[in-house]
């Protein structure tokens, strides 16, 4: 809990940068829209506006700043727009609907977690090596002292494996499981991109990109981030619980 305040500060700073960046990033689009709506924009010609950067155009038209946050198809949506889009596509849609992000999330997640579909093979491959390397490192982690102690107990190699080396590898296993699960999710999302998949986070991002719907891309991006966070958090919880049960301190 000691780090709650610093973490909130850093997250707040990132959000602040984002909110501030929305105005210059969207200013050209906002100015075009405002002119169509009959407002006064200070270089009159759209062509002249291209010569200005987002920041200097903002300084010339400070009265348009508020409008940059409510564009339909922004270059950079503001945080509240992303939240609203996610709320609309997750909570207000039927879960089985094609428009529901929960449905697309389920498609990606099932590819991440199980191992039968082609996408799942990529996910499985990506999480395979981190776990192998971590487990081997963990199985070799007991030092000479501990191995010697078992030898003085006249323990067989099998007993040494079950009672010392396998338990000793558990912290390493969890560390690599957390790396593996996020790699798997990335793999599943990437695998959906070039294959013309119709459902899943990756397909959603591609659809938003190709049909000029930035909000769809952004919502899919954040939903994927939340999914990754939930998966890593779940393994973190499992790690702490297991290590406490085994009498080891969580790393």
């Amino acid at each position: 809990m000691k780090s709650l305040l610093p973490v909130l500060t850093v997250v707040g700073a990132i959000l602040l940068v984002w909110v501030v960046a929305v105005v210059p990033m969207n200013m050209h689009l906002t100015a075009d829209q405002a002119q169509r709506d009959g407002l006064v924009v200070t270089p009159e010609e759209p062509r002249d506006r291209q010569a200005y950067s987002g920041i200097s155009l903002t300084l010339k038209n400070p009265h348009l700043m508020a409008r940059a946050y409510v564009l339909d198809r922004p270059r950079l949506p503001s945080p509240h727009q992303v939240v609203v889009e996610m709320w609309k596509t997750i909570a207000l849609q039927n879960v089985t609907s094609r428009r529901s992000l929960a449905y697309h999330g389920w498609v990606t997640l099932s590819a991440t977690l199980q191992g039968l579909l082609p996408k799942a093979i990529i996910s499985a491959y990506l999480s395979f090596f981190p776990v192998v390397v971590g487990m081997v490192k963990g199985l070799r982690s007991p030092d000479g002292m501990q191995l010697d102690l078992l030898r003085t107990y006249h323990a067989s190699p099998a007993q040494g494996f079950w009672k010392l080396r396998l338990p000793g590898s558990v912290p390493y296993l969890f560390a690599s499981l957390k790396i593996g699960i996020s790699a798997s999710l990335v793999g599943a999302i990437v695998a959906e991109l070039p294959t013309g998949a119709r459902a899943g986070f990756g397909a959603r991002m591609l659809v938003g990109d190709q049909y000029g719907q930035p909000m769809v891309t952004w919502a899919a991006l954040f939903a994927a981030a939340i999914t990754a966070a939930a998966l890593v958090g779940f393994f973190g919880f499992l790690e702490r619980w297991t290590l406490r049960r085994m009498g080891m301190q969580a790393a």
Binding site: K2, T9, V11, V186, G202
Partner: protein, 283 residues
């Protein structure tokens, strides 16, 4: 046919195994040559089995081309592959990697001046490093156009967080004893940073840099799926799949694998050269 294929594959596997166990048990096993030979024989065995199974089972080249087909395609298309390599790896991945690396160093050193910031950045950065940042590729392509600049931006964001987290963690890795010693020498902040804390952080920093090498290649290739000029490894992969030229796809995969291993190897080599004093590098 299936029977001969399986028997043939098992025979090759057995032969490779036999040679390798003999080599590993022989007196020369500690020699440099044999230690390189053993993984080489293992790889060769896999390739021969691949070739054998694909030929005998008459697998369509659209499903899986033979290693020899891939190798001949590789040799034929060397100029194309080189242009793609330049576009994706040199311009996209390397530029992004260097930008991401230096911005991570700068942010880490700034954050390191305050305990409060360090405590905030470590968990947030660790969390961000686990997120599927490749997803930002379509956004960056829209912002920066489809040439290599957008790929470099995706790569920079992807490599930023692992390097940042590792650098911040590494800068905290000095004991109070060591810092006190520097203080008794009358060293100021910068002298302590360059002579004690940065060298001590090097093993951590290289850990992050090595993780980031693979991320850089993934980012540069995947970002090309969202729009690219008519050159580049990601572009070539997606168009060759469309033409069912799977041997070309595999040739690009070979390039990516060689580039990735070389990049990682160079980083490991620099690490060994710079952190020769660390226990993990001593023999």
């Amino acid at each position: 046919m299936t029977g001969t294929a399986i028997i043939g594959a098992l025979t090759v596997w057995g032969a490779g195994w036999f040679i390798n166990t003999r080599l590993a048990a022989s007196a020369a096993a500690q020699g440099r040559l044999v230690r390189l030979l053993i993984p080489a024989i293992f790889g060769l065995t896999l390739l021969i089995i691949w070739e054998l199974l694909v030929r005998l089972l008459e697998v369509s080249p659209v499903i899986l081309p033979t290693p020899t087909a891939i190798a001949s395609r590789f040799a034929e298309e060397l100029p194309t592959l080189w242009v793609d390599f330049e576009q994706t790896i040199i311009k996209g991945a390397m530029t992004g990697y260097i930008i991401g690396m230096f911005s991570a160093f700068v942010v880490a050193i700034i954050a390191d001046r305050s305990v409060f910031l360090t405590r905030g950045i470590l968990p947030v950065g660790g969390f961000m490093a686990a997120l599927p940042i490749v997803g930002t590729a379509p956004i960056f392509v829209k912002w920066l156009g489809s040439d290599w600049e957008s790929k470099a931006a995706v790569v920079a964001v992807m490599v930023f967080f692992p390097i940042l987290v590792n650098t911040v963690a590494g800068l905290r890795d000095t004991t109070s004893m060591q810092r006190d010693l520097m203080r008794t020498y009358g060293a100021n902040y910068w002298a302590t940073l360059f002579k004690l804390r940065l060298p001590a952080a090097m093993p951590f920093i290289f850990n992050g840099l090595k993780i980031a090498t693979t991320l850089a290649l993934i980012g540069a290739i995947v970002a090309e799926f969202f729009g690219s000029p008519t050159v580049g490894m990601g572009f070539r992969i997606s168009t060759s799949v469309g033409q069912l030229a799977l041997d070309m796809v595999w040739a690009e995969i070979v390039v990516a694998a060689i580039a990735g291993s070389a990049f990682y190897g160079v980083m490991t080599w620099i690490e060994r050269w710079m952190t020769f004093w660390h226990p993990s590098q001593r023999n």
